[in-house]
């Protein structure tokens, strides 16, 4: 560990060993066992934002942590199955677009921007339209936060 490789200014990647799978069987098994539960807790925090502390940002960060644990332990190449690299930044843009689309659909129905009780969902009272409008918006926030954090990690590694 004492000698680091010579830093080449042309080489803008970080240490290549960060991309490799871990050698330790314990770390490997633990990360693979724990990551689904972290993702589950992330979904729980997100969906309970209506009833308890939580919501889009916190749930999104927990989901991102679940994916980053797989990135750290399994290596970049193996964890492409659960979170492909080419998906990340595009999906985070889609999350922000979902937020804007909810707002603009209220505008198209003749209300103000983000005026949820005019959303074009049939058969719901205005209060419940606002309920589901908040939920849709939180989905957009969660998608953006999750995929942006994974994308920043991927760009730091340079994969």
């Amino acid at each position: 560990m004492s000698e680091f490789p010579e830093h080449d200014p042309k080489d803008h990647c970080l240490d290549e060993s960060l991309k490799e799978p871990t050698d330790s069987l314990i770390v490997h098994a633990t990360a693979r066992g724990i990551a689904p539960f972290i993702l589950l807790i992330g979904l729980y925090v997100f969906f309970h934002g209506h009833y308890s502390p939580g919501g889009g940002f916190q749930g999104g960060v927990l989901l991102a942590v679940g994916f980053l644990l797989l990135r750290l332990s399994l290596g970049v190449r193996l964890s492409q199955i659960v979170m492909p690299h080419r998906l990340t930044l595009r999906a985070s843009a889609i999350g922000a677009l979902l937020f804007v689309a909810v707002g603009l659909s209220a505008v198209i129905m003749g209300g103000n921007f983000l005026d949820y009780h005019l959303l074009p969902i049939p058969g719901l009272a205005p209060e419940y339209l606002r309920y589901f409008g908040i939920l849709l918006v939180e989905v957009g926030v969660t998608v953006t936060v999750t995929f942006t954090l994974v994308a920043i990690y991927d760009e730091l590694l340079g994969c």
Partner: protein, 100 residues
């Protein structure tokens, strides 16, 4: 120079402790944050939120209603800030790394 640093630290600690000690006690209905009208005599938005948050959106968590419904434009701005942070990292970290 090091003594000055410690003096500034101690003075800042004193300011913070003074602020903490002078806070109104919890549940004090006459404290400024719990009044229905502010110092200028106009009604405070928080009163409306507390009275109408559940009626408007059928959501028990008042904070979610404020962040997602009443102040949703602010939340949209926060989301776009996160997205712009990701895009900026993408371009800054890929300056010389881009493969042809």
């Amino acid at each position: 120079m090091k003594a000055l640093r410690y003096i500034v630290l101690v003075a800042f600690f004193g300011v913070l402790m003074t602020a903490v000690v002078k806070l109104p006690p919890r549940g004090d209905v006459s404290s400024p944050v719990h009044r229905r009208t502010n110092a200028a005599g106009t009604p405070v938005a928080g009163t409306y939120y507390i009275q109408n948050a559940y009626k408007d959106a059928k959501t028990p968590n008042m904070v979610t209603v404020i962040l997602g419904d009443y102040r949703s434009l602010d939340t949209l701005g926060e989301t776009i800030v996160v997205l712009i942070g990701g895009i900026a990292c993408f371009y800054i970290l890929n300056v010389r790394r881009r493969k042809p």
